[in-house]
């Protein structure tokens, strides 16, 4: 037990995950400590640095007095620290001006937080805080169970892999358990590389022990003694907190030899990725751990038969492992009651783009896209712009039009739409986003990240990108569209690994739902969203211009003239076509 909390001290929690820190949370936390020091209040109040709770753009501070109600403050700035200490901690009166209101409540109201339950609530660098909330109880319980019974339970719960493909976790474990091998390995895939996805990072930063516990349970199930966490080097804070968590767990005998006095031994090492998207693919990931270029190989043999250094290996994603302890503690039936027929439990999403609230949310499977944007998202950011599409599943996923936002988010429904669940990045777009450009963006990404081993992915994607570039420049023909579709299907069927097989999805879904936008680029030589530079005239549409002057202020080239009450004018000589004006104009008045 931690003696700090045995005293009747109050608790002040500051969300200091990467998102919090980028908004200035560390300055707030340090400011609180200084303020408490200067008032000799450090014994009465304990400042706790937690992971992120999910709501972005905000520094969240929670004050929990020894007695009395918890108060959450949002958008706290370093200059507010003195006020909070003075009025609330000393004076006993919460600071109304900073207290969380409807925006905060809306964000959390429809969430069901299982994986994220500890994120933003505990100090991830203090194992006692995790233990106080039932940490490692599940592991203890499991070690008294028969591994096969444990796998039955996970299977019955219906947990499916959260990394994207959605393979049933219990089944995967059973394969690895049955496999013959001197040593077996268990790997946690924390190489979260989708642009716009940071669910795993938040879990690792906010609750690293939950992942370690999940891995240990998995290791017991399949009979592994050694685990690896393959984590992106771009996540320094997650790496640091993992190292601390592993060291603390070892110190307490929760990792290492003879865990909980049984003969079960398990150790975990962290392997840093070196910046290759394809290493999220399991065979490439193993190749990378072995010290080679991260290049996928054909399956079979599956990792369960021949994985790391030729040994039976089981790979699960961070979020999958973080679910495991809850299934053990609360039972398969409880878990299976959440979600839909084909998809059980909850899913964490990184909500971003043109919505009012952005951040990390956890909702039951089967929640619709519209419920996400209207619930936690609080609607689209710019009311007067029409919602257009949602991009779900990252470079392997697709763009779904607003007309089908009532689709429930589960594995089956999403694959019917042509998108995939993916790891959980979900980005909302309004009419200012061009679907041709979005498809091009993802193709650029996959072309860059293709490992180059198989021809369909290496060459095919490049040809597709060239075709899309021509369309975006206004040089496309309708035959380009047939070519894109044809090539997309070929790559889907013939690429070696998941990266290549799913890379055409952004193109196929935009072609399926936004074909008229492609045609506008080709036939009318117009980009309706005013994104593709070559198809923009850079003139002010006086019918739409509200004379607000935002474009004038945004122009870095001094090419726009404007006076109060007059239409803006763009000097074509000076204009560098940088699109800064279009970016700030919510009236679509520059075409």
């Amino acid at each position: 037990m931690n003696d700090r909390r045995e005293t009747a001290a109050g608790r002040i929690m500051v969300c200091t995950g990467t998102s919090g820190i980028s908004s200035g949370a560390e300055q707030v936390a340090a400011g609180l400590e200084r303020e408490l020091d200067s008032r000799n209040l450090r014994d009465a109040w304990h400042v706790v640095r937690t992971g992120d709770r999910g709501l972005f753009q905000d520094v969240l501070v929670d004050v929990i007095p020894p007695e009395g109600e918890r108060v959450t403050y949002v958008k706290v700035k370093p200059k507010d620290v003195g006020t909070i200490v003075e009025e609330h901690l000393v004076g006993g009166q919460p600071v109304k001006r900073l207290a969380a209101g409807k925006r905060y409540d809306d964000f959390f109201a429809t969430q069901q937080r299982i994986v994220l339950t500890n994120c933003g609530e505990i100090d991830p660098e203090d194992i006692d805080e995790y233990l106080d909330r039932g940490g490692y109880d599940a592991l203890k319980q499991v070690l008294a169970m028969d591994p096969d019974a444990l796998i039955d339970e996970v299977e019955k719960a219906g947990l499916r892999g959260r990394g994207g493909a959605g393979f049933p976790t219990g089944t995967k474990w059973r394969f690895a358990r049955k496999a013959q091998g001197v040593s077996k390995y268990i790997i946690c895939n924390a190489d979260e590389g989708d642009p716009g996805a940071f669910m795993d990072r938040s879990v690792l930063e906010g609750d690293p022990h939950a992942v370690l516990e999940g891995m240990a349970i998995g290791a017991y199930a399949i009979g592994a003694k050694q685990g690896f966490i393959y984590c992106r080097a771009e996540y320094p804070l997650a790496l640091k907190r993992l190292d601390i968590a592993i060291a603390q767990a070892k110190e307490r005998g929760l990792l290492g030899e003879g865990i909980f006095g049984t003969d079960f031994s398990f150790d975990v090492s962290v392997v840093q990725g070196a910046g290759a998207f394809v290493c999220g693919e399991e065979t490439a990931l193993m190749s990378s751990i072995e010290g080679h270029r991260g290049i996928p190989r054909p399956r079979p043999p599956f990792p369960a038969q021949s994985g790391l250094w030729g040994n039976p290996t089981n790979i699960n994603n961070v979020e999958t492992f973080a679910n495991v302890r809850h299934i053990v503690l609360r039972g398969a039936d409880w878990y299976a009651a959440i979600g839909t027929e084909s998809s059980k439990g909850t899913k964490v999403f990184a909500l971003a783009g043109k919505v009012k609230n952005t951040g990390l949310v956890e909702v039951p499977m089967g929640t619709t896209i519209r419920q996400l944007v209207e619930g936690p998202g609080r609607g689209m950011a710019v009311k007067r712009l029409k919602p257009k599409a949602v991009q779900i599943g990252g470079p392997s996923g697709g763009c779904l039009p607003e007309t089908i936002w009532d689709t429930p988010i589960d594995y089956a429904s999403l694959s019917e739409t042509g998108a995939i669940m993916g790891s959980g990045g979900i980005i909302f777009m309004d009419e200012k986003s061009c679907m041709v450009d979005v498809a091009r963006y993802f193709l650029e990404f996959t072309v860059k990240e293709s490992c180059g081993k198989c021809v369909p992915c290496r060459v095919g994607l490049k040809r597709m990108l060239e075709a899309i570039n021509e369309i975006a420049r206004g040089e496309g023909t309708l035959a380009h569209l047939d070519f894109l579709e044809d090539m997309a299907h070929t790559i889907q069927q013939t690429a070696l690994c998941g990266l290549g097989q799913t890379a055409p999805n952004p193109v196929l879904t935009t072609l399926r739902y936004f074909r008229e936008e492609y045609e506008a680029h080709i036939v009318d030589k117009k980009c309706p969203a005013h994104v593709c530079t070559d198809l923009i005239e850079f003139v002010v549409d006086e019918e739409k211009c509200t004379k607000c002057g935002l474009c004038f202020k945004a122009c870095p080239a001094g090419a726009i003239t404007w006076q109060k009450g007059e239409f803006a004018k763009i000097d074509q000589e000076k204009c560098t076509k940088c699109r800064s004006c279009i970016n700030v104009c919510d009236f679509m008045a520059i075409r």
């Binding site: 990467t18 998102s19 820190i21 980028s22 908004s23 972005f56 753009q57 590389g193 989708d194 642009p195 716009g196 996805a197 940071f198 990072r201 080097a233 771009e234 392997v271 840093q272 990725g273 070196a274 910046g275 290759a276 998207f277 990378s288 751990i289 072995e290 010290g291 080679h292 270029r293 991260g294 250094w309 990184a350 971003a352 783009g353 043109k354 952005t358 951040g359 991009q391 990252g394 990045g425 980005i427 777009m429 986003s433 979005v438 963006y441 990404f445 490992c451 202020k553 945004a554 122009c555 870095p556 560098t576 940088c578 699109r579 800064s580 970016n583 700030v584």
Partner: protein, 173 residues
């Protein structure tokens, strides 16, 4: 290549003035005999020198029994490794989906123009290295960029100058 090469000559850290073997050998020794040691070893070398010098590749090749071609294969495959010294400050412009939608590409274009470098290159004066990243994970503040350890959120093109100036000033002091 031209910009980077110029930068190297100017900062006096070109291939001609590589690091000394004696600086590399103890690092390599610590990794000998470990399974899957190559990538962590290269990461350690880079942590120490800021890039992976040619001498280091030679020493690793000898001591670990790996052909240089395999090492260069690894070094050029993973985006994290650099074969040349870096600028004093690293600018990372996020090109994640949210930043892209919110104008991250505009920032990148403008920075490339202002600094006269492309993604991954270092300015002629060795001040700045410009890089793109797939996601900095602060999508709520999009578009985002980072200079060294500092985050800049909701960045507009017209404040880029003042951001760069801040670091130039800092260096003068």
């Amino acid at each position: 290549m031209t910009n980077a090469t110029n930068a190297m000559t100017k900062t006096g850290a070109g291939t001609g003035q590589d690091v000394d073997r004696s600086e590399v050998e103890p690092i390599v020794a610590a990794f000998q005999g470990r399974q899957g040691a190559i990538i962590p070893l290269l990461q350690e070398i880079q942590r120490r020198f800021g890039y992976v010098p040619k001498t280091a590749v030679d020493v690793i090749s000898e001591k670990m029994g790996v052909y240089p071609v395999e090492l260069y294969g690894i070094l050029t495959f993973y985006a994290q490794f650099y074969l040349e010294p870096r600028g004093k400050h690293t600018i990372k412009v996020c090109q994640g989906t949210a930043c892209y939608i919110m104008g991250g590409k505009l920032l990148l274009d403008q920075l490339e123009e202002d600094l006269q470098v492309h993604d991954g290159e270092t300015t002629e004066d060795g001040q700045f290295t410009l890089e793109t990243v797939a996601c900095l994970g602060c999508c709520g503040m999009a578009p985002v960029m980072m200079v060294d350890g500092d985050f800049y959120g909701s960045v507009k093109t017209n404040i880029l100058d003042s951001i760069l100036e801040h670091y130039r000033e800092q260096d003068k002091q």
